[in-house]
């Protein structure tokens, strides 16, 4: 059963016309996107900057509506935001006036979970991301990686079926990124959530995704969906020298470096 299904999704924006002063014209950010995500699948999205990855994610959150086509979750069309989806934004988006715990409880409160349970749940998810001892810190007292972990814990805590992540590890150093990648895989294995993960990194896309959706730009369309036949990502310490990984990596790299992409930069 498909958890999420994109049906010929097109999104156009109104932008200022460069040639006619004061006039507006349509700009097609993504065009006829069509693919599905299976229940419990970990799917990654890669594509050149500006190809519409964040636009796609915004549509999934239900905060914006497609110009054409529709997106289904569990067979129902998305019409607005909902707590069946948890979002991790690229820039953390933590509430600076709330502590790590307070931020996690915010989502729980939104879900209508009684106060007595909130604390316990927040504690559990803080522990899950390894921040048990930082519960009462404000965001400005946390490092970038810690903030990102709080953001992940926050979106996990209200127990959404689907986790949407927009380049969540982009701003982190290599070491922290690797740690969080394995942590995310662990959490995914443990909770069986459906995850849609946007990234710039080819390695990251291949390492995390069971399938990698490669997008092309101007307008954003699905170029190819690459299957990644890796089984034991967490057990194999040296997975990045595994031939399957290397082949998949090369394929995605080639797709991203084909002439049409280079044309897009002119």
């Amino acid at each position: 059963m498909d958890k999420i299904k994109f049906e010929r999704v097109t999104k156009k924006f109104l932008v200022r016309d460069e040639y006619k002063k004061g006039a507006q014209r349509e700009f097609t950010a993504i065009k006829d996107i069509e693919f599905s995500v299976k229940e419990g699948e970990f799917i990654t999205l890669v594509g050149p900057s500006g190809c519409g990855k964040s636009t796609l994610l915004d549509l999934l959150t239900g905060l914006t509506q497609p110009t054409k086509g529709r997106i289904l979750i569990d067979g129902r069309e998305i019409t607005g935001p909902g707590l069946d989806r948890g979002i991790v934004f690229q820039q953390y988006a933590l509430f600076p006036w709330k502590t790590a715990r307070g931020n996690i409880e915010f989502g729980l409160e939104a879900k209508g979970i009684p106060k007595s349970e909130r604390k316990e749940k927040a504690e559990y998810y803080l522990d899950l991301v390894g921040l048990k001892n930082f519960a009462d810190r404000y965001p400005h007292e946390l490092s970038g990686g810690m903030k990102q972990r709080v953001a992940i814990a926050r979106s996990l805590a209200f127990n959404p079926d689907v986790l949407l992540m927009d380049e969540p590890f982009a701003a982190l150093d290599a070491q922290t990124r690797e740690t969080l990648q394995t942590e995310l895989l662990r959490i995914w294995k443990k909770t069986g959530k459906t995850i849609i993960f946007i990234t710039h990194g080819i390695d990251e896309a291949v390492y995390l995704g069971e399938r990698v959706v490669v997008l092309s730009a101007n307008p954003g369309t699905v170029k190819k969906i690459v299957d990644i036949p890796l089984k034991d990502r967490l057990e194999d310490a040296d997975i990045k020298s595994n031939p399957a990984f290397i082949n998949a990596r090369r394929e995605v790299w080639n797709l991203l470096h084909e002439p049409e992409f280079q044309g897009a930069h002119i």
Partner: protein, 274 residues
């Protein structure tokens, strides 16, 4: 473990306790640094008239002023004026907050209202409240109403404009993040917009606090039967010079008190900021 560790740390940093010296000494040094200029100022004030550098009748020595201040305090005279001033300014100030904060939140939230109203609000803000004092007296008379009104007027603009810009400048990502959790508009306002705006609103509140005293004292100097502003002009007309300075000192103290109170409140409400 513990017994081994302790002497080791003591051996490792013998210079540190010496350098930072005893806590009571550092506290003393700090207090000295903070107050030395103040002490010199008071000494100058005391000595300059005593030694005849300035005319004693126009600037009595500090000790005489303190004595006058004490007498005014004991007789209850000072308190009467202090009370009148603080009640008026507090009343006008709180009224301004009650009016300007909700209004600012609403105007800030609706871009159309914001764009339409900001120019005229800026105009009002930049119209010196004191310039309008004759108008207030003309319309509202010289009673309490006109004085509270002018404080209200002076306090409203900074709070209102700061609240509007605070709401306008809330990080859109935070709004997006909260919206994605499907919370109601009311909750969004109450749980996100409001707390995110607090530090900027408080900057406006502090400006209003300073403005409140300034405007009130001036208003009291022009037409009143009580209040510190009135007391100062009254003393001046009756050549009670030490009393006049006592009144001025009291205003300084009042200003400090208000500033301190608002600063602590600001620190409390913005404690999540770095």
């Amino acid at each position: 473990m513990v017994t081994i560790n302790k002497p080791a740390t003591k051996l490792n940093e013998p210079s540190k306790p010496q350098k930072s010296s005893s806590p009571s000494l550092t506290a003393f040094v700090k207090a000295f640094k903070n107050s030395i200029v103040l002490i010199v100022f008071i000494l100058l004030w005391e000595l300059a008239p005593q030694l005849g550098f300035v005319e004693k009748t126009f600037l009595p020595p500090f000790s005489e002023v303190v004595q006058a201040w004490w007498e005014l305090l004991v007789t209850g005279e000072l308190w009467r004026h202090f009370e009148a001033s603080i009640l008026r300014s507090l009343f006008g100030f709180l009224l301004a907050l009650a009016l300007a904060i909700p209004l600012g939140l609403i105007i800030g939230w609706y871009p159309l209202a914001r764009d339409l109203l900001t120019p005229i609000l800026e105009l009002f803000r930049n119209t010196a409240a004191l310039a309008l004092l004759p108008v207030f007296i003309l319309i509202l008379g010289i009673g309490e109403v006109s004085k509270i009104s002018i404080v209200l007027f002076a306090c409203t603009w900074p709070v209102l404009l700061n609240t509007i810009s605070a709401v306008k400048n809330v990080d859109p990502l935070l709004i997006k993040s909260a919206r994605s959790m499907n919370i109601s508009s009311f909750k969004l306002f109450y749980k996100v917009i409001l707390p995110a705006s607090v530090p900027t609103i408080f900057t406006g509140i502090r400006m209003a606090g300073t403005g409140a005293i300034l405007v009130l004292i001036a208003a009291e100097m022009i037409g009143a039967k009580a209040g510190l502003g009135y007391f100062i002009t009254y003393s001046q007309y009756n050549f009670l010079i030490p009393e006049m300075y006592a009144g001025i000192i009291t205003i300084s103290l009042l200003g400090l008190l208000i500033n301190y109170g608002l600063s602590s409140a600001e620190r409390y409400f913005s404690r999540w900021k770095q």
